[in-house]
């Protein structure tokens, strides 16, 4: 075995180890998910994703300008008309007792990619209409896999969800595979969500946004 194969083998072993930890953890347990993300998103993987996402003008611009959500004033957004993205996003967070995911300092394309995906995750939930049930998370994971392309992390998350369904929730098999297929097809049909400057869209009615993004449900 040569050095490159050896490194590859070592990485694969670490990924499989991190993967089994996520399988054994309860759904949404962030520590093990963070470890999997950190392990699987090696520089080459991130580079592939940056290259893919830079193929559209919107993606290229995002890597140049690195848009931030900025501070999210939940109560203020919750005063907007009830059909707007801002209201529905705030309402989604409040109902689920979530807080906005804080933005990190980004000094390169890779850290921007991670930070942008994290801080916009709940916006993607709202815009795609995926709820926070297991099936909703699976649908959104498949949507990410389609939109980010070549995303080892989201593929591994889908794999994890199918294995957990097999060993823990076999009665949800149909619901989960329906969700996976729907999310994948929706993600391929929709316009790219990555790189949108979401904080300029708070006052836009969600239905208009969905129509613009080919996401009409």
């Amino acid at each position: 075995m040569n050095v490159i194969e050896d490194v590859q083998q070592h990485w694969q072993t670490q990924v499989i180890e991190a993967f089994t930890q996520v399988v054994k953890a309860p759904y949404g347990e962030l520590l093990s998910i963070g470890r999997l993300s950190h392990t699987i998103n090696d520089p080459l993987t991130l580079q592939l994703m940056v290259e893919h996402l830079s193929q559209t003008p919107q993606g290229r611009q995002a890597f140049q300008e690195r848009p931030h959500l900025g501070e999210v004033k939940l109560q203020q957004l919750h005063q907007l008309p009830k059909n707007t993205l801002g209201y529905l996003y705030a309402d989604h967070l409040i109902r689920n007792e979530f807080t906005p995911i804080p933005a990190y300092h980004e000094d390169n394309d890779y850290s921007f990619l991670s930070a942008h995906i994290s801080e916009t995750h709940d916006i993607w939930h709202v815009v795609t209409g995926c709820d926070t049930t297991k099936a909703g998370e699976i649908e959104l994971a498949a949507f990410y896999a389609a939109q980010l392309s070549a995303s080892r992390f989201w593929l591994a998350m889908l794999s994890k969800n199918l294995l957990k369904t097999a060993v823990e929730d076999i009665e949800l098999c149909e619901l989960h595979l329906d969700a996976l297929s729907r999310g994948w097809l929706k993600g391929k049909e929709a316009k790219p969500l990555f790189g949108l400057q979401w904080n300029t869209l708070w006052e836009t009615p969600l239905e208009n946004l969905r129509t613009q993004l080919n996401l009409a449900l």
Copy 2:
């Protein structure tokens, strides 16, 4: 932890161990796949599948009569007209240098279920139009998941294929998720394949069979 939880936990640990062996093995490595199948198909799982499959008259009849493929005379089938199931099945085996999977002695519903699925696997390949590439196997695995319902084994195989795609073949991500979605939707739309007495259908043109089974491609 009570005794039932303890047994459940032990089973899950064994399944995850068997799963990681299949992930680490090359595609189609039968020893590790057999071990996963043996581990994940515990009596309760098999009982669930037997119950599900017995909901149709065809399935019920299959468990009563336990149809066998019987001896498959490849060269003889290969003399049939080129549009028949028999010719196309023999041709599929010959081209892939496969031999028919021998039938085992079945003395109960569970062993019949396993034997029937094994010995008809390549017929399902031909009838569904799934080839033997990685994508073809994924499409067929999703088709099985839809048709057999509550199949922990096929869900685990899908999970395995997505994880292998993530760590070994990320450039095949789109092809593989397309295949999974297609197989799942096709399996839900098609009439049940389980329990058909395939050896009475060798002379039937494949296209007619596909039409009867809602499998027109």
